[in-house]
């Protein structure tokens, strides 16, 4: 069975390591926060100016001055810090954030990512995405394996305007976990439970490397 959004987030949460500062993008990446393993201690960075993002506030305790990068009301945790936008991106650009998780419209087998613009459609802007993908050493994309028309989002080359070059390190889709490698393109690491290698192969347009037995994801 293909994963739902929560399961994609849950799988990505397994990648977290204690001590990491992590930036979670809008959409599925935000859900990762709900699945952080209990024994893992990470700090969530919100690029609008917060380290140590806590959960949503209780009803009636919302503070208009305390939001995350998705403009949602949130809370802090002990040890949280507020800072300005320049300092925030100093953290990101300077490589102090160990992991960025974000969504994508397309990923190329060289690690290029497109997630900010569709020509002839209203362009909302890249927000912090271009800074994030150009900066983080470790970038994981959370997305569906195919688009609404059933076409692969894992391509030999991006067809949409790109957000960053050769930056995506790993992809978790509803069907698979894949590593992006310079030499082998997408390397299949895991299948979603019950999903066949054949289905993944058929839905991956970019160069895909499958070696040996491909295990199912473990939850």
């Amino acid at each position: 069975m293909a994963l739902n959004k929560q399961e994609i987030a849950q799988r990505i949460a397994q990648e977290l390591q204690t001590g990491w500062y992590v930036n979670l993008g809008i959409g599925i990446p935000t859900l990762v926060a709900n699945y952080i393993p209990k024994h893992i201690s990470v700090v969530l960075q919100s690029e609008n100016g917060l380290l140590g993002m806590g959960p949503f506030p209780f009803e009636g305790e919302e503070d208009a001055d305390l939001i995350n990068a998705g403009k949602q009301t949130i809370t802090t945790l002990p040890g949280s810090v507020f800072f300005d936008s320049a300092t925030s991106f100093a953290m990101i650009r300077g490589g102090h954030v160990q992991l960025t998780v974000l969504g994508a419209m397309e990923v190329a087998d060289n690690g290029d990512i497109a997630n900010w613009k569709i020509p002839d459609r209203m362009v909302k802007g890249m927000g912090g995405a271009m800074d994030l993908v150009a900066s983080a050493d470790n970038i994981i994309v959370a997305m569906q394996h195919t688009n609404k028309r059933g076409e692969s989002k894992l391509l030999p080359a991006c067809t949409l305007p790109i957000t960053g070059v050769q930056c995506v390190k790993k992809i978790v889709t509803d069907l698979a976990t894949l590593e992006v490698t310079p030499k082998e393109g997408f390397r299949l690491l895991e299948r979603a439970p019950g999903v066949s290698v054949e289905e993944i192969v058929s839905k991956t347009a970019g160069r895909l490397t499958v070696k040996g037995d491909v295990p199912e994801m473990q939850f």
Partner: protein, 232 residues
């Protein structure tokens, strides 16, 4: 060194058609509400507005868009605004989209006398078109120029009469950098206090960057995405 002026109307004195303004805030958080309203009443047009976002239809910069006072927006993200979309698609409004971190750093650079700097953000994308590129540490970077403005309008939590500012929580965002980059910087504050009442060790924007300060009124502080969790 008293920089106090009476109100928002006095604050925006000297803003003229065609000027470039910086406006602090992220989404609707930490925006200079009073100054924006005063600009609407002033009726200036042809403005270039540097602001991370463009407000919503009926609040924030959306109010200036409705009156067609803005000629060009320089922003990183401009969703959530139908009038914006209409004007942009019709070509009435020019839009320059900039990566958020580059926007913040370009404002800081403008205030700090750094005319240009290299950043990896946007290399290989549309953002890099026409810009110089260079490799540093095995990674490609693009050269970005500083941004400055005729007026910068920022919103702080507390300020003293010397222009020293303190921001609250994530309402800080772009405000400190824009305060640095305005030829004239106007600060509107929720609380205006005497010099010495703010701890000198914990001031976010030193008064040297601020030329005018006033106590704002009637803050709406609209929340864009009210997300809550149930009490157990």
């Amino acid at each position: 060194m008293n920089k106090v002026i009476a109100n928002a109307t006095e604050a925006v004195e000297g803003v003229k058609d065609g000027m470039t303004l910086m406006l602090g805030g992220f989404g609707l958080c930490g925006i200079p509400e009073n100054c924006i309203n005063a600009l609407v009443h002033l009726g200036v047009s042809g403005l270039t507005c540097i602001s991370n976002n463009a407000g919503v239809d009926d609040f924030g910069l959306g109010l200036l868009l409705q009156k067609k006072q803005i000629r060009k927006m320089i922003s990183s993200y401009v969703g959530e605004n139908d009038e914006f979309e209409r004007q942009m698609l019709s070509g009435e409004l020019e839009v320059d989209l900039i990566p958020q971190g580059s926007l913040a750093e370009r404002c800081r650079a403008g205030g700090a006398g750094i005319p240009a700097f290299y950043t990896p953000a946007g290399f290989g994308t549309e953002v890099a078109e026409g810009k110089e590129t260079r490799e540093y540490n095995g990674k490609m970077h693009i050269l970005e120029n500083a941004l400055t403005a005729d007026f910068a309008m920022v919103k702080a939590w507390k300020g003293d009469t010397d222009g020293n500012l303190v921001f609250k929580a994530t309402a800080r965002n772009f405000n400190p950098m824009m305060a640095m980059a305005g030829k004239i910087t106007i600060a509107e504050v929720e609380e205006l206090v005497a010099p010495g009442e703010l701890d000198p060790n914990f001031i976010h924007t030193p008064g040297i960057f601020v030329q005018r300060i006033f106590k704002g009124t009637d803050y709406e502080k609209r929340i864009e995405q009210r997300t809550v969790r149930p009490r157990d």
